[in-house]
Amino acid sequence: MNKNEFLNELERSLASLPAEERREIINDFQEHFQAGAENGKTEAQLCEELGDPKSCAAQYLAEQRPVRPEAATPPVQNANVQRPPVRPAQPAAKQGYYGTRPLPAADRRSDTAWSVAFILLVLAAFVVYPTACAFMLAPLPIIFLSSMIMQAAPGALGIVFTVSICTAFFTAGLLMLVLMSVLLKKSYKKSSF
């Protein structure tokens, strides 16, 4: 692997980061290659020492994770700007530090909330999906009964009435289906299942 391949791979894997932050990271690595070259190392050697660009990117993304809830936070503008600590304050705790780093409490709390929401949504789905199907199928009997409506309100008015009722029912059913599916998917992703 050479310098360009490494940097391209790294940049590709960092695609989900803000452009500003990505540029800063790429700059750091460019500087590394530059300094390494001045110390007489080849690009291949430097890549070998740096390791896999994907796992490197994964580390950047992993550190990004805890701040994601406040997605509105602008990317770091100045190199000297100090953001609040990403890692939860956890003094002492010998085993904790050199062992597995626990998830921040806030993260675990929101995971639990989403898990509960997911279970509730699954239960609700048993009611919502049949209702949505019934709504979508409702136009069939309505059209069937439309002859009676036509008798009550003959002409164009009757047709407009029938069509608008059919459309309303169908759209409502479709909306319910889509909304429910989207909510289910979202809560499943956010929950810890």
Binding site: G51, C56, R87, K94, Y98
Partner: protein, 106 residues
């Protein structure tokens, strides 16, 4: 070596090197890479995190041979973190040494 374990040690190494003077990224990566078997690429995400946590300040300094380099300077908070981690590490390695010593005796 266990990666989580390495990560904690790496942080201590970076902070300790910086406690002896300002350095730029390549120096840190190269120095640590020479003595510990790690992917040097993992030093940079660590540097970024520690910077975000306020453990050091960053400044640019012209180099004699090429473009300006990004130097890292330890802040008071960084120095405090280094002291605490170094203490934890000593306790930890003493405990492990104790157990290893005990094993040899038997």
């Amino acid at each position: 070596m266990n990666t989580q374990f390495k990560k904690g040690v790496l942080e201590l190494c970076v902070l300790s090197l910086l406690s002896r003077g300002d350095r730029y990224g390549y120096e840190l990566a190269d120095t640590i890479g020479k003595s510990i078997d790690v992917s040097e690429g993992s030093i940079y995400p660590l540097l970024k995190r520690l910077k975000n946590e306020g453990c050091f300040e960053v400044y640019l300094k012209e180099s004699a041979t090429g473009p300006a380099r990004k130097y890292y300077r330890l802040t008071q908070k960084g120095a405090d973190t280094q002291k605490q981690l170094a203490r934890e590490w000593k306790e930890f390695s003493n405990s492990v040494s104790g157990i290893l010593g005990g094993e040899q005796d038997e």
